[in-house]
Symmetry: C2
Subunit: 340 residues, 2 copies
């Protein structure tokens, strides 16, 4: 049994808590200032309404002002906040980082300012003396929080340059219905986790234009995986990572459900960005910010001669053109479908 | 403009006719003895009821006793019969094969008797003097016939050892909404086209056990693509073929709809094979025969030391166990989910 601290009581943080508690571990679930209500509700009812599961006894709940207590005895720290909040939360956690800890990041995206991956943001936040003393692991793969909390069959991949740390996390998570694997390619997993949000929008756009058909979605799926492989390789990772659970697996889940796809559909039907967001009650569409960040990220790689955005990544490029340059969807899809 | 002969007026043969006719080519669509009614209906009404499209004027229709006329002026021959009928139809066509023809095969599966791929069956049927004088091309990728006939956005890949023949077919097919690519890896495309039928059943089984969830399907999708890559490589093809439109693209389409998935679902819900087939009005489930053929095919590869079926292909192996060895689905899925 391990004592695990989970940072962030959103859907994913809570679902991970339930899974790990069911696996026999002690879990400290710490909520940010935005999580006070849900922490209170879990405390009072030992039940999570959105996940529709009971909260096991071996989950201890902590409010935002109880961070020090939450860290007590925890050697494994899982950061499950949204990508946008990553840098800020790392500054909050910094005083509690200690030699020998393992930090697992779950967030999917790139940092708005630095365009760095989530793991790099964590690494940069470590106090000077602790760099190399704390192992950083990335969780990748298709995990819908609600399904994870219900213990459906699932699979995930743990990535770290410290492969033993990845293996250790894998052991904590695995169960008869939760399959795990490990890889050293943390950069590859980070890229897939971030960019699949954009590609889910692309697939949604086609669905909006040609609703209900499968041929176009299947064609895009294959090309999106191919593009993710190219981005991973340009960034120094292994392109095979995109062909596995972290890339195609995660994109598959995202393409079947979720806000990115829904948003894309509305865009494909001719709605403006603002209209689409309004129709979605202004929910956060992760792929929208990600496409902006991804564009800058890829422009930098292009500047180093490592990739040609427009030629090699037509899906990403045209999705950016639609979302952030006002290009019409029909024109963009025409470009995507052109044979070189 | 090219004069193209299409052999077989099933859904796929008819849809390909419509696509090629719309692309400006002259099409001779020849129906087998089983296609007499649909040929008559297309002739009378210039309309295809199941595809729900008009039959363009530049499609000439031929009955089974008009094969000689149908071959007239046609240099490109597309064979679009089911895999089971491939060897027999090739014997019927044999007298009309001529130097300089290109034969495109569309059928997905392995020959029941020889376990050879469709292209090899065609090759073996060529008269001795014509071997190497006729180019054989394979069509791969996610193409649902009804969608193809309606000209939805689609993508396909043409595979041939004679890359110029593949490029030529690609040019005949491509259009603003139909994207094409070519490869020399005809064995890889054949393997993907055949084996995805089994993997669609596997995905259906999981859906039957845990209906409506996406995490399990996404996990299986990634592993199925990985297994297809291993089979392709063991057979001497390029495993990358499985990661592209011919492998993951085709499996994606098959997993979203179709009889293999439906059949798998019923099996996953605890129905016997016979019950499941009865509930599907005894429709042909291609993956069922394919799993038998595939097992023998893989056993032969295993005998040559090229693959370890049970260890390297747990999805395929367990699906075979369920369908043909009476293993319970729960037990099989448990095995699939085990970490080595």
């Amino acid at each position: 049994m391990e004592r695990i601290l989970i940072i962030g009581a959103g859907l994913m943080g809570s679902a991970l808590s339930v899974h790990l508690a069911n696996n026999g571990h002690g879990v400290n679930l710490w909520g940010t200032q935005w999580d006070r209500e849900i922490i209170k509700e879990m405390e009072d009812r030992r039940y999570h309404p959105a996940l529709n599961v009971d909260i096991p006894e071996n989950i201890n709940l902590f409010y935002d002002d109880q961070l020090e207590e939450a860290f007590k005895d925890a050697r494994v720290i899982i950061i499950a906040v949204i990508a946008k909040g990553m840098r800020a939360i790392c500054q909050v956690l910094k005083p509690y980082f200690k030699k020998g800890q393992i930090i697992l990041t779950v967030s999917k995206g790139l940092d708005d300012d630095s365009l760095h991956t989530m793991s790099r943001v964590v690494e940069e936040s470590l106090p000077q003396g602790l760099r190399g003393q704390i192992s950083i692991v990335k969780l990748g793969g298709p995990l819908i929080a609600k399904e994870l909390a219900k213990d459906t069959y699932s699979e995930a991949i743990f990535a770290s340059k410290d492969i033993e740390a990845a293996q250790y996390m894998s052991i904590l998570f695995k169960s008869p219905k939760f399959r795990t694997s490990v890889t050293e390619d943390i950069d590859g997993v980070e890229i897939c986790a971030a960019f699949k949000n954009t590609y889910a929008i692309t697939m949604g756009i086609l669905e909006g234009i040609e609703g209900g058909y499968s041929n176009p979605k299947a064609a895009l799926m294959a090309r999106a995986v191919d593009e993710m492989g190219k981005i991973v390789a340009a960034f120094g990772g292994r392109k095979e990572t995109a062909y596995g659970i972290a890339g195609l697996g995660d994109l598959y889940v995202t393409s079947l459900s979720g806000r990115n796809g829904r948003f894309g559909q509305l865009i494909g039907q001719g709605k403006s960005k603002d209209e689409a967001l309004r129709l979605m009650d202004n929910a956060t569409v992760e792929g929208l910010a990600m496409t902006l960040n991804g564009y800058s990220f890829l422009k930098a790689l292009e500047g180093e001669g490592r990739i040609n955005l427009k030629e090699e990544l037509p899906l990403f490029y045209q999705t950016y053109q639609i979302l952030h340059q006002g290009e019409g969807v029909e024109k963009a899809v025409e470009e995507i479908w052109k044979v070189d």
